[in-house]
Amino acid sequence: MSQSLLQVQGLGISFGGLKAVQNVTLEVKEREIVGLIGPNGAGKTTFFNLVTGIYKPTTGHVAIVGKSTENLKSFEITNECFCARTFQNIRLFRDLTVMENVLVASHKRVDYGLLSVLLHSQKFQTKEMEIRARARKLLSIFKLDGKEDELACNLPYGDQRKLEIVRALSTEPKLLFLDEPAAGMNQQETAELLKLVKFVRDTFQIGILVIEHDMKFIMGVCERIYVLDHGMLIAEGNPEQIRKNPEVIKAYLGEEV
């Protein structure tokens, strides 16, 4: 039985007169990799911002792992709905090391009190070691091991993108949102990322919703794709259907002309 991880009903938001997202209904099921595509300014990032609680929707309803996000703050959505995201423009903690960027995102797992930290208790030590081991494992999956102590801002661009994904995974999400993870990567890096995303899904058994302009990436990684244009969903289907959909072709060509 495949349960629904993300359920969005009639979601919408306006900025002044601009309806950036209107009446979007969408679903991500367990262990599914779903794409969200559309021309520039279609409202994709805004959609992520709505779902993760940065913006309050003007209409509609969001449920993640069956839980309504309505009255939850961002950090509660992350912790209680088990979701995490990356950002279109990289937003790492630049002054923290690679390792610290990952560790800081495992905040909710670290439930020991200040007292046991001060006393360096057994429980604290075991837990700390466990969390570090997990962080190291995640870093090595993304081939970032050996760079633990570098400042995040000193990493090459592609590594920064990967570190953002590692950091998001460190919160132990059931649902991962990726906002243009391949942006700025070359073809080889993108191909590698494609494999990594699939590997992550298989290893951690999570659902992934990914925004990306690179069609080769999207078609290669997604099982289903939603297409957004001017804030509205204009198509949904598997990569083959989307590729052939006249509405989609029009939306993309219309942009180019």
């Binding site: 993760t52 940065i54 950090f75 995490a84 002054d95 905040h107 200040l114 950091r167």
Partner: protein, 302 residues
């Protein structure tokens, strides 16, 4: 030569006190981009707490380092609670408000505490003398300069507290969270960090250091005055700006430079410039290097 060394020693101990206060300004600024003008008042309240509890303990023990530590602990707890309440009641409701609202509120909180403390049934408007927690004596002399036991205490305690702070900020989960939140609140929240709790913790931490500063100041210059926080706070604020506001090592460096500058001004120019020097420094820093000695002049990407 002896005189010069004496000034250096005095300057460092005064500077350590400024540093302890400046750290609080810097940490809060780092996280909220707010200048917490009420921070000086927390220093003052520390002395007021000491003023009230010391006689009780003096009835049971003689002036000693032990007594000092007991009174210090009470002041730290008291100020920690005050710091927590200031943030919770005054600043948190304004989290989404424009920055100017918060700034005006900070000034309001500062004035409120000052005048509340001056009420007769609280502390009163008349300065009182602070109980003697430790008798002052010359601890040792180097090159003819005298170092008092109080100065050793100031240096020792400041050092211990700063090391502890460094440890908290760089080695604990809360410290990591503090640094993350001060870099980016929104991203921190999205990674599941309870931002409000981290902010509370920052205020408590800053206030505990301010409590140490207040107790040290009143032990060195045994006076309690409801308005004493204003000038101390302002000078420490200048120290924080000088060091680069938002940077903890900057606050320490700024504090030490401020203490030295003040001591040398008094020693070699005139004591009437004692307070003016702070503001002269502020003006020069703002003109020459607004980001401060250790501050980063980061270009904001939009």
């Amino acid at each position: 030569m002896a005189e010069f060394i004496q000034h250096v020693i005095n300057g460092i101990s005064l500077g350590s006190v400024y540093a302890l206060i400046a750290i609080g300004y810097s940490m809060v600024y780092g996280i909220l981009q707010l200048i917490n003008f009420a921070h000086g008042e927390v220093v003052m309240l520390s002395s007021v707490f000491g003023f009230y509890v010391a006689p009780y303990f003096l009835a049971h023990m003689d002036p000693s380092i032990g007594l000092f530590l007991v009174v210090l602990t009470v002041a730290m707890v008291g100020c920690g609670i005050v710091g927590f309440l200031i943030e919770r009641l005054a600043y948190r409701p304004l989290r989404k408000a424009p920055r100017i609202n918060c700034l005006i509120t900070a000034i309001g909180v500062s004035l409120f505490i000052q005048y509340f403390t001056q009420l007769d049934f609280v502390f009163g408007a008349i300065p009182q003398s602070y109980p003697e927690l430790m008798s002052r004596e010359v601890y040792f002399t180097i090159a003819g300069a005298e170092v008092s036991n109080l100065q050793v205490l100031v240096l020792g305690l400041s050092f211990v507290l700063m090391v502890a702070l460094q440890w908290i900020v760089y080695r604990t989960k809360l410290g990591k969270a503090m640094r993350a939140v001060s870099e980016n609140t929104e991203v921190s929240a999205l990674l599941g960090i309870p931002v409000d709790r981290v902010i509370s913790f920052t205020f408590i931490l800053g206030s505990v250091l301010a409590a140490a500063a207040g107790t040290l100041v009143s032990t060195m210059y045994p006076k309690v005055d409801a308005l004493m926080g204003t000038l101390l706070g302002l000078k420490a604020f200048v120290a924080a700006v000088l060091g680069g506001i938002g940077s903890i090592p900057g606050a320490v460096l700024g504090g030490l430079v401020m203490g030295m500058a003040e001591e040398f001004t008094v020693g070699y120019l005139s004591s009437s410039f004692r307070d003016a020097i702070a503001f002269a420094i502020l003006i020069v820093v703002l003109l020459v290097r607004p980001s401060g000695l250790l501050g980063k002049s980061r270009i904001e990407k939009v």
